[in-house]
Symmetry: none
Subunit: 412 residues, 2 copies
């Protein structure tokens, strides 16, 4: 079934307020099996709104509108909907009573203009909004559905989750849809090849996406009911895990830093860092995880060779291989581990750019990792934009950390 989103509000067209509602809803619709055909962002203007709502109503099975439900003259979503359907708005006595009670509870008199928040048209039912004064509208006619929700994201999301999503699921589903994402280390080509047998399954459908934190494999299963969809997902997931083994580092909302932290905590290992080109970003991301102080012992931002040497990197290594080298990355990892008495030392050295360093090009970096069972370094080459290089090196370093901890013997 086809769906369209209309975001209402002049402020969304001024570039001062970002329309997060549309992207939130866009990410929700695949879970209902709805196929989003367009997003429109429109000003608080009755002609524009009526035309857009009319178009969307004729074209799509489900129309989701956000915004324009406030009490002022500028709030025109109800008026535009009534015009498109050729229906008359009238005040609902129950809604008026609820609204007055809400104002009374806040110890305030209800302003006259708010009465429009208690109106309905014959095809509309009201949707409760515990977080604000504007109830939504659920409009159903001629086999089509239009839903109007308030603009403030907290009110909209609450209404979507508690009211609209369940009603829509009941109204639109002919089948159950289940979604599961596995996140992997490796290149898109390699992961795609290994996932071949699951591609062939067809249901669940498998999508493969290269993302900043690795390769995502998204499974979408369709079945007669939720249990059937869950069983299809479980079978496909276990097959993918067989094919990919330790390359799977997480699922769904997992982050690299969260997953690395969970692995370190589970194995009671501690971590120390030494960073050059990433300038602290690696540690900053590691410590974004609540509770990271349980395993993160600290770090050094050794922006000069002098500081590296003072922390224990052999000056002769720097002299013979250059500061951006696998040898120095390993020595930095060893030094971080030793200085802070950690189980694992993780280090990065590279050329963030824009200028070359020691004749080495921007985007070249080495990541070193020192663990009880050995030390190694990997080389990375990244597109040479300073901010991107830092982020990509950090991602690569977290991949290496996860691999190392996953592969560690149990007693490490």
């Amino acid at each position: 079934m086809k769906a369209g989103i209309v975001s209402v509000g002049t402020e969304l067209l001024m570039g001062e307020v970002l329309d997060t509602n549309a992207s939130y809803l866009a990410s929700q619709l695949p879970l209902l099996g709805l196929d989003l055909q367009s997003i429109m962002v429109l000003p608080d203007n009755i002609e524009s709104l009526a035309e857009a709502f009319g178009q969307a109503w004729r074209r799509f099975d489900v129309v989701l509108a956000t915004g324009g439900l406030g009490p002022t003259q500028d709030d025109l979503t109800r008026e535009a909907t009534a015009r498109v359907l050729g229906e008359e708005m009238s005040v609902s006595p129950e809604l008026e009573r609820d609204l007055r009670a809400m104002f009374a509870a806040m110890g305030r008199e209800m302003p006259l203009s708010n009465i429009k928040q208690a109106t309905l048209i014959p095809s509309a039912r009201s949707i409760p909004n515990p977080r604000g004064t504007a109830p939504g509208w659920w409009v159903e006619r001629d086999g089509r559905i239009m839903v109007a929700m308030p603009g403030p994201p907290a009110e909209m999301q609450r209404m979507w989750e508690a009211e609209v999503m369940p009603r829509l699921r009941a109204a639109v589903r002919r089948e159950a849809v289940g979604v599961r994402t596995l996140k992997c280390l490796g290149s898109e080509g390699e992961v795609g090849e290994k996932a071949g047998p699951v591609f062939a399954m067809g249901n669940p459908a498998l999508g493969i996406y290269a993302k900043p934190d690795g390769i995502h494999l998204r499974l979408i299963a369709r079945a007669a009911d939720d249990a059937g969809a869950a069983a299809l997902l479980a079978a496909a997931e276990s097959r993918l895990r067989e094919c990919l083994g330790h390359q799977v580092w997480g699922t769904d909302a997992d982050t690299l830093e969260g997953r690395a932290g969970a692995l370190l905590a589970a194995r009671q290992l501690t971590l120390a860092t030494m960073e050059s080109c990433t300038g602290g970003l690696l540690s900053a991301i590691i410590t974004d995880v609540p509770g990271s102080s349980a395993y993160f012992k600290g770090g050094f931002i050794s922006y000069t060779s002098e500081m590296k040497v003072s922390l224990g990197v052999d000056a002769r290594l720097i002299a013979s291989h250059g500061v951006v080298s696998a040898q120095v990355a390993e020595a930095m990892a060893i030094a971080a581990r030793r200085r802070l008495g950690a189980d694992i030392g993780l280090a990065v050295t590279g050329v963030a750019g824009p200028d070359p360093l020691e004749g080495k090009p921007p985007g070249l970096a080495y990541i070193g990792i020192a663990a009880p069972d050995g030390t190694r370094a990997v080389e990375g080459r990244y597109p040479p934009r300073r901010v991107d290089v830092k982020r990509l090196v950090v991602t690569h370093a977290l991949h290496l950390l996860i691999q190392t901890v996953q592969a560690a013997p149990g007693g490490m």
Copy 2:
């Protein structure tokens, strides 16, 4: 004059990729005096695109499209534009030559499908894209303008700033508009009060915005020509600088870290950091500035008390005041400065959350700064969301750094 934006790409409707291009362009249009009437987000479907482009072309004076300029069959912005205008696409020999040269420079053969990136229609001129293979289209006919730009934000913004914005300015303007933003330290109320005399000027119009990096004062001047607008801006800016003095830390695209770096470099001062609750984020942001290795000597992420003490913080200070205290922040700043032989030491200690620490609430932090002429610490209290706390503390620390360096005697 009226404008519309069309964002092209099925991925924008899947909730996987956020459409940042539309909001970026929306924020730019007021500077040209253009009135944005709608944003449409559409899938890679020739029928949908042709219909939307046709509607926008009939309704608006200026249509800005992003996305759909790639080499694959899914990239249909050129095709849809040609259909709406009833014009024939043909390969431009110069564009083909440039494209082949670009691939040759990357040491690659040009895939056959890329030839469509060298096409034009009679009403279109090509817009160069130094960051990618897809040139844009500037289409002008019947007094209307349509611009097609590539989807990747870095390519789009470069093309907008260097090519599209200046051409549009020349094409649409009836009056000259000049814009200047001053960025200030302080609270919105205080800055607004001091800026009072400039509010009264009327032209330039003064807007005041509380932003993550401080208070922004945005001046918009209107005049018959550029020289007139520039003169109005210059007069208002110099008046604002009189009113606000050192509270003005930067202008327009300046960032806190860039401004702090420029001040340090100009005064030939070096910097070292020691971070606890920010976990490396302060240093990561300081080193986002190209050339920061000239003044940044390095940093310590002292996530444990043990590490703080090993670096020179007196254990008795921690015992008597707690690790989250003004005294420890000062001691950390002094230790960072001394350990790395820097002119200035900057340190942060605080409770990132979600749990309290030493009975102190999440969101409490102290920032210490040690300079040749003395050491001090400031307290900050921030809304207790871990990721927000880290970012806000860093902003506050950079403010303090700028204040300290600005106020330093010339010979510091």
